[in-house]
C-alpha cells in the first residue's frame, strides 16, 4: 500500500513522462530538447498567472479576476505601444494597473467582507465588460520584435530563463521569508494566525497585490508572444491557470506551491502542444485538461497519508 501511495502522490510526474513518450512516438521531433524547452516557454503565460493564483490560494483565498484583467490589460498595452509609447513605460503602467486591481479585490474581500470567490468572479465580469466597452472587441496588433525578451540564449529561449528565475524567487518568497510563512499560517488557520500577532489583513492585502502584478505580467507575455491583444485571451486562460494552481497541491506538500504550479502548467502545455500537432479539434484540449485536473486531485487525495478527514489506505 505504501508504494501505491507514492504512485498516487507523484502521479503527475508519471503522467508527464507518459504523455511525452506517447506524443514523441506519434509525432516525429516532439521529443527533442528544443521542443521540450520551447514548450516550457509557451507555458510561461499559464505559469506566471498560476503563480499569482497559487500565492493567493496559500493565504486561503482565491482570485479569478485574471480572466477579466487579461484581455483588458493586453488591450491597453497594445494600444499604448501602437500609440507610440515607450516600451518600458507601457510595461510599468500595466504592472501598476495589475496592482490596483489586486488591491481592489483585497479591499472587497477584507474590508467589505465579500467571499473572495464571489468578489473576484464579479471583478472578472466587470473587467471583461470594461474591455468590450473600450475596445469594441477588436483585436489590436503590435509591431516590432522584442528579441531581448523572446530571443534565444544558446538553445534556451530567454522567456524560459525568465520563468525559471521567477520560479526560484517566488519559491524563496513563499517558503523562506517571514511573509511567506505568515501567509501560509493564515491560509491554514486564520484565527490562530491572528492570535499569534500576525497582521492578517496586511499580509492578505499584499498577497492580492502580488497576485495582481503576476496576472498583469502574464497578460504582457501573452500579448508580446501573440503580437496582438485579443478578447478571448481571458476565457482561454481561465481553465489552465486555475488547473495549474490547483494541481500544484498535488505536487509535494498538499498545499498550493510555486514548483507545483510550474510542473502543472508544463503538463497542460504538453497536452496542448501534443493535441495541436496531432491535429485534434480545438475543444479537445480544455476537455482533456479538465479531466486531468479532476483525476489528479482525486488521486492525490486518495493517496494521502491518514490525514484529517481522509480515507486511510493503511
Amino acid at each position: 500500500m505504501r508504494r501505491l501511495k507514492y504512485i498516487f502522490q507523484y502521479s503527475i510526474f508519471f503522467l508527464i513522462g507518459f504523455l511525452l513518450v506517447l506524443f514523441a512516438t506519434l509525432v516525429p521531433g516532439f521529443g527533442n530538447i528544443r521542443n521540450l524547452l520551447s514548450m516550457l516557454a509557451q507555458a510561461a503565460v499559464t505559469g506566471v498567472a498560476a503563480y499569482g493564483l497559487a500565492i493567493i490560494m496559500i493565504g486561503g483565498e482565491i482570485d479569478l479576476s485574471f480572466a477579466g484583467s487579461f484581455p483588458l490589460l493586453a488591450y491597453i498595452f497594445a494600444r499604448q505601444l501602437s500609440a507610440g509609447s515607450e516600451f518600458f513605460m507601457a510595461v510599468t503602467t500595466i504592472l501598476a494597473l495589475g496592482i490596483i486591481i489586486g488591491l481592489i479585490n483585497a479591499v472587497t474581500v477584507l474590508y467589505m467582507r465579500v467571499p473572495s470567490f464571489l468578489a473576484t468572479t464579479v471583478m472578472m465580469f466587470l473587467l471583461t465588460g470594461l474591455y468590450f466597452a473600450i475596445s469594441g472587441g477588436r483585436t489590436v496588433y503590435i509591431k516590432g520584435y522584442y528579441g531581448f525578451l523572446f530571443g534565444f540564449w544558446g538553445p534556451i529561449p530567454k522567456i524560459t530563463l525568465f520563468l525559471l528565475v521567477l520560479t526560484v524567487v517566488l519559491h524563496m518568497l513563499t517558503e523562506h521569508t517571514q511573509w511567506g510563512i505568515m501567509l501560509k499560517s493564515i491560509g491554514e488557520n486564520p484565527e490562530y494566525a491572528f492570535r499569534m500577532g500576525i497582521n492578517v489583513s496586511s499580509i492578505k492585502m499584499t498577497a492580492f497585490a502580488l497576485g495582481g502584478v503576476l496576472f498583469s505580467a502574464a497578460a504582457l507575455i501573452a500579448t508580446i508572444r501573440l503580437s496582438s491583444a485579443t478578447g478571448t485571451l481571458g476565457s482561454q486562460a481561465l481553465l489552465p491557470v486555475m488547473a495549474s494552481a490547483y494541481m500544484s497541491t498535488v505536487v509535494g506538500s498538499g498545499k498550493p506551491n510555486i514548483w507545483g504550479a510550474l510542473v502543472a502548467s508544463y503538463l497542460l502545455q504538453v497536452i496542448a502542444c501534443g493535441f495541436g500537432t496531432l491535429g485534434l479539434p480545438f475543444w479537445a484540449t480544455p476537455m482533456a485538461q479538465g479531466v486531468l485536473l479532476l483525476l489528479l486531485v482525486a488521486l492525490a487525495n486518495v493517496g494521502k497519508k491518514r490525514g484529517i478527514g481522509q480515507v486511510s489506505l493503511g
Binding site: 524563496m172 523562506h176 521569508t177 517571514q178 511573509w179 511567506g180 510563512i181 505568515m182 501560509k184 499560517s185 491554514e188 488557520n189 484565527e191 490562530y192 491572528f194 492570535r195 499569534m196 500577532g197 500576525i198 497582521n199 498538499g254 498545499k255 490525514g307 484529517i308
Partner: protein, 504 residues
Amino acid sequence: MRVLLMEGVTKEFPGVKALDNVDFELVEREIHALVGANGAGKSTLLKILAGVIRADSGNIFFKGKQITQWSPRQVMEAGIQFIYQDLGLFNGLSVAQNIFMGRFPKTIIGTVSRRDVWSSARQILKQIGVEDIDVTLSLGELSAAQQQLVAIARALVRNPAILVLDEPTARLGSDEVNTLFAILKKLRDENGVSIIFVSHRLEEVYQIADRVTVLRDGQRIITDELQNINPEQLVKYMVGARLKNSGRLRREKSLEPSEEVILEVSSLTSDWFTDINFALHKREILGIVGAVGAGKSELAETIFGLRPYSKGQIRIKGCLVQPKSPRASMRFGVAFCPEDRRSKGLLLKSSIRENIVLASLDRLALGRWLCNPSREREVTQRLIKRLGIVPSIPDHITYKLSGGNQQKVVLAKWLCAHGEIFILDEPTVGVDVRGKQEIYQLIRELAMQGAGVLFITSDIHELFEVCTSFIVMHRGRIVARMRPDEASLDRVLYYVMGGSNAQA
C-alpha cells in the same frame, strides 16, 4: 420501575482506566444527578450510554431488555435523548425546523407544510410552558437560554423515556436556571420522563435532583437519595479521603514568588465576569479554578486582548495597558496557550519547527525579511531537547504528535518568543498521566526562571500539584483565594461548586 440499568461497565483507554466496573441505575420519574470531579468518568459513561463509544465489558438493560447492538441512532429511536453542552442545533434554521429536524410533519403529497410545522412547534413549546419564543425566527437570533429550551423541545418531539442533560446550566443566568428546572420537574411529573442531570453546581443538584450518583477516578462511590447526604459529605465523596490532606502532595520548596508584581488586574468587569482583582508576581504560579461557565477562559482571553472589557484596569509590570489585540499583548511579553490547542493553538499540518518559530519570526530572521532555517532548526532542536518533545525531529508534522507533546510545542513556541507572563488555559486536557507530570515540571521551571504563570484549570488536583496560590471562580466572580498548604481539596471543590462561605 427501573428504566435503565448499566451494570459493571468498564472502559479502558490507553494508559488510563476511565471506568472501572461502574453500576448506574435510573428509575421511572426521577431526576438523577451524576456528579464527580474532572476526569471522574462522567462523560465516558454518558458516551457509552449514547452509543458513541463501546464499553470493554458490562451490560446495559433498557426497560428490562438487555441491549447488545447499541448505535447512536438506535439509542435515539429507543427513546433516550441527549442534550449536550453545545446543544447540537443549527443556527441557520428556524426554531420550528430545528425542533422537527429529521421528522417533519408531511402533507399528502409529501412536502413539508410550514404552517403545520410552526403550529406543532408552538404546541411542543407550550407543553413545556414556553410561549415567548417565535418559532419562525432563526435559531441564531435567540438567547443562549432560549436555545436551551429549543433543544429540550426538540428532544420532546421524540417522546423520550430518558433525557440526558450535560451541564445544561453552564451558560444560563439564575432566573433562566429556575425556568429550566421548573420545566424539568414538569417533564418528570407530567410526562413521566426520567432525567440524568450532570452538573458542577452543588446548589443546583440539591435544587433539582432526587437521587445522586458520585463517580470518582472511574469508580462509582455511592448512589443515594439526596436528602440522605449533606453538601459537605457529597463533596467528600467526590474528592475521596485519600487525597484529603494536601500536605501530603509534593511541593517544590524552591519556588518562592518574588515581591515584584508582573501582572495586576483590578476590578476587571465584562459580560463574562465581574470585579476581578488579582496580582501575579514573578516566579508565581497562580491557579484559577472553576467549573465550566465560571468565566475563567473568558478572563484569560480578555487579558490576552481577544475580548473587550467594560470596566477595570490591567497593569503589566506597573504600566497600565489596554490589550486590544494579541499583537499588542505579545509585545508586553504575554503568552497565551488556549484551551482548544488543536484549533487555536497550533498549525496541525505544519512541522514542529514552523510552529515553534511562528511567534518569533522577527527575532530569528536573517536580516529583515529572510528566514534563517538553520538558526530556526538550532533553536527548535534546543527547545525540543529542553522540553523533551518526542519525536525530536524539528520537521515532524504536528498532528502526528501525542496530546502532551503538542502542548509542549505550544509552550516551546512561547519560550522561543521570550514570554514573561504565561496564561495557560487547561494545558493538560487530553494529555496522559506522564505527559501531565512533564508539563507540570515545565511550568515549575518556567516560574523558577522568573516568569509569572496563570494556570487555569477545572481539575482541582492540579492546583495542589503546581500552583503556589490560587483563586476560585464561580459564575464570573472570585469566591475564594487560597494557598495549597492552607486549603483542602474538599474545601476547594466546595467553593468551585458554588458552596458559600456562610455554610462553611
